[in-house]
């Protein structure tokens, strides 16, 4: 009799299931890697490149064609220049077809003419360099202007090779040196941490407060719950601009109100003064995201079994004691998960600060710094370097996060 042995490896059924699973996942994996993994890799690549916004268009020769002079002097003129000021383009060639009605009399030395085809090998074009090619032509009569238009209508074909900064193997550490240089980086990091820590904690505390308010059921509870979610559901751009207008130093209602109430003597520039601007963007963050914490905490609260409170009542616990020794420990799990997730998300936040202050007045966080470096200073490499730093921080945070979430599985 043969011994019964457990099957080794995956059986055909299991293999088929795994194949189906990968088949179902393939589209997702494909697009996610196309739009997430590839950009992430490219941002690492770019962060080591000396590249500015202008370098996105590689240097190339540019030409202007015109028909000039008349009679003996009639000529086709090609004026070339290098689109880049400092990078040479090598092996420039120019090809064009003469329009009907024009015949070549004499051409530039560098050009070959066969019938109506012109081909010129022009060699190299220095950075910012210019060149000119003239071809003397004759006309069999006819309107010169119209012929000129006809000639210009067929654009000449240009070729030329230039080093493409994005793809060559020129690396530099200058970007990282630049962003870590001086106090600026530490200032930005400090601002980011202030914004992230206080924004997260504030949103959690306010969310907890709001959840405690709505944990009792009464008429209108649903309406209030919907109302308290408004800040989160509305488009960020709409509420950010509303805040800007509300707190405008010259014509904002908040200032008018404070002046009339006698709280302040002079109008306050809420989004323009250090360190008030940073506090204001943090307050905005709390205002906008307390609904989310509120929703989660409320959901968790409502699932705390009622008999625990009854037992506490029997033991004579006071309301504060019930909150402190019963509700809070029950909520600790969701609070810690929310804290970590919100911490990561606040750290990643870009839109809010960008819209409110544009990163001015001491509110430049790391994410705003990416935009600032890449587009305002036009140094894409430095922007990418900041992005790499952000990504590094993110990895550290998510390591923490996965530790906690596997403990608190089920959110």
């Amino acid at each position: 009799m043969t011994q019964a042995v457990p099957p080794k490896g995956a059986g055909p059924l299991a293999r088929r299931e795994a194949r189906l699973a990968w088949g179902l996942l393939l589209p997702t994996i494909a697009i996610v890697s196309a739009v997430v993994i590839v950009p992430l890799l490219s941002i690492f690549w770019i962060s080591f490149k000396p590249i500015g916004l202008a370098d996105l268009r590689p240097p190339a020769p540019v030409v202007r064609e015109s028909l000039r002079g008349e009679g003996e002097d009639l000529r086709l003129q090609y004026r070339l220049r290098n689109s880049s000021r400092d990078v040479a383009v090598t092996g420039v060639t120019l090809g064009d077809t003469l329009p009907e009605g024009l015949t070549v009399r004499a051409a530039d030395d560098r050009c070959e003419v066969t019938d109506a085809e012109i081909f010129c090998a022009l060699g190299d074009l220095e950075g910012g360099g210019r060149d000119e090619v003239e071809i003397l032509v004759a006309t069999a009569g006819g309107d010169i202007d119209a012929l000129g238009d006809l000639a210009e209508a067929s654009p000449p074909a240009l070729t030329g090779t230039a080093p493409n900064i994005l793809t060559n193997l020129d690396f530099t550490l200058e970007n990282f040196a630049r962003i870590f240089d001086g106090d600026e980086f530490w200032g930005v990091l400090g601002v980011t941490l202030f914004y992230t820590v206080f924004g997260t904690v504030g949103a959690l505390l306010f969310g907890l407060f709001a959840a405690l308010l709505l944990d009792t059921s009464f008429k209108g509870q649903g309406i209030l719950r919907g109302l308290y979610l408004f800040p989160y559901v509305a488009p960020v751009i709409a509420v950010a601009f509303t805040w800007i207008i509300l707190f405008d130093p010259f014509s904002g209602s908040a200032n008018a109100l404070l002046l009339r109430m006698g709280v302040t003597e002079n109008a306050i520039n809420f989004f323009g003064d250090r360190p008030l601007a940073l506090i204001m963007v943090t307050v905005f963050e709390i205002w906008r995201y307390f609904p989310l914490s509120f929703l989660f905490i409320l959901a968790r609260m409502q699932s705390i079994p009622e008999d625990m409170y009854e037992a506490a009542d029997m033991d004579g616990a006071s309301p504060f004691q019930k909150f402190w020794f019963l509700s809070l420990p029950q909520l600790m799990g969701i609070l810690s998960v929310l804290f970590l997730l919100r911490f990561i998300w606040t750290f990643n936040k870009f839109d809010d600060i960008f819209l409110l202050t544009g990163g001015n007045a001491g509110t430049r966080t790391l994410t705003v710094n990416v935009y600032e470096q890449a587009f305002a200073v036009s140094n894409i490499g430095a922007g990418a370097a900041v992005a790499v730093v952000i990504f590094g921080c993110l990895l550290i945070f998510s390591a923490f996060f996965f530790k906690v979430i596997s403990r608190e599985e089920g959110l």
Binding site: A18, L25, V35, L40, P235, M261, W345
Partner: protein
């Protein structure tokens, strides 16, 4: 020492009256445009008295409230009106006295004069905090939206004249909607609305098309790497958009997808697929596997099971996910801002961003904001049940 009826009553009375005074002053200023301000000192003194009075029953509270109205009209009440019209003053003082007295009466319910037990004291404090919380949260949520709507209904002159005045000037008739008319005609907001709408709908459809099979595979099928996969999805969900936006901008510039709606429609679903996948797999796991196995036994293939059993069972979850994704796409700003330059292709958020210049009056900016906010709010309020579920399941995207 605090555990004494009169002391608790006085302190809570003072605090609550001050809260009501500030609320009334702000609300009346916004409603009437007149200058109302709270007075800290008389709020504290009169409030303390009112608080003690409410301890002695409803009659005493009512009497104290009437006295409070009188003191207010004389001009030394918790809310000071300056030289405002008498009607407004009476309304302000009346509302203040009513709010302070009824609020305190509720807080002091069952509180004895004299010594308090710990439970009585804490219950009163909690009732005060609850009252304060309702006023506070409602105020901070309502005021910005109120300002947004009312600013959009004004004209430049009114705004400069009195930034506090948010009353509606009905004598202007339909002209109060001038900003909206101008946005629709001159600034082409109709087409932005349409672009935003179809971009969002396409995003929802594409997201579902990609995430349903993926989520099903992660939730139901056994294969090596399932756990890793679902973790990396969560990780991708946390990559900041600005980090991706930069290479996407570069890539789009090179292949010529920048400045095209197609580019936007291609990129939005990718930002939402991870979250949708995460939400859906959670839901699919919760469905009873037996139903599907019964389907398999009856000879359906896996794909047929998904189509005929799983999807119909998860319609509510699909609704939640769709709404959530729609909201993300509708509110998306960063990518639209970076990738679109041509006004004819703007989405709504990009269109509003283009209104933010010193030449365009700010009531237009606010009208644009209202146009973007109203549809999403309408959907939200109409389908709140799904939306809240979507928000909690979709966890915590910023």
């Amino acid at each position: 020492m605090f555990h004494h009826g009169q002391v608790t009553g006085a302190i809570l009375g003072a605090l609550w009256t001050f809260v009501v005074a500030v609320t009334v002053a702000v609300a009346m200023s916004f409603l009437s445009g007149e200058a109302f301000r709270p007075s800290g000192l008389s709020s504290l003194i009169l409030g303390a008295a009112l608080g003690v009075a409410t301890l002695f029953g409803t009659g005493a509270a009512a009497a104290a409230a009437v006295v409070l109205v009188g003191i207010g009209i004389v001009g030394v009440g918790p809310v000071r009106g300056g030289d405002v019209a008498l009607v407004w003053a009476v309304v302000a003082h009346g509302v203040l006295a009513l709010g302070a007295a009824t609020g305190l009466r509720v807080m002091m319910r069952g509180l004895p004069t004299g010594r308090l037990t710990r439970h009585e004291f804490e219950a009163a404090v909690i009732r005060f905090l609850t009252g304060f919380g309702y006023v506070f949260f409602t105020a901070i949520v309502v005021i910005p939206f109120y300002v947004m709507v009312m600013t959009s209904l004004k004209n430049q002159q009114q705004l400069v004249q009195n930034p506090l005045d948010f009353s509606l000037d009905l004598s202007r008739g339909w002209a109060i909607f001038d900003s909206y008319v101008e946005l629709m005609t001159v600034f082409d907001f109709g087409s932005y609305l349409w672009t935003s709408f179809y971009v969002s709908v396409l995003t929802v459809l594409l997201t579902l098309a990609f995430s349903i099979p993926g989520a099903y595979a992660v939730a139901r099928l056994r294969f090596r790497g399932a756990a890793t996969f679902s973790r990396s999805i969560l990780l991708i969900y946390m990559v900041p958009m600005i980090v991706l936006a930069l290479p996407i901008y570069i890539g789009y510039s090179m292949v010529g997808l920048r400045n095209s709606v197609l580019g936007i429609v291609l990129i939005y679903p990718v930002t939402t697929v991870p979250v949708a996948l995460y939400m859906l797999q959670g839901y699919f796991r919760g469905l009873p596997a037996e139903v599907e196995e019964a389907g398999l036994m009856d000879g359906l293939s896996r794909l047929q099971v998904i189509w005929k059993i799983t999807l119909p069972l998860s319609l509510p979850a699909l609704a939640s996910v769709s709404l959530y994704v729609f909201m993300i796409a509708w509110n998306e700003f960063l990518l639209a801002f970076m990738l679109l330059d041509d006004p004819s292709k703007f989405t709504l958020t990009r269109g509003i961003a283009s209104l933010n210049s010193s030449e365009i009056p700010r009531q237009h900016l606010m009208a644009g904001s209202v146009i973007a906010t109203v549809p999403i709010m309408a959907i939200f309020l109409g389908l709140e049940r799904f939306m809240t579920r979507g928000l909690t399941a979709g966890s915590v995207k910023g």
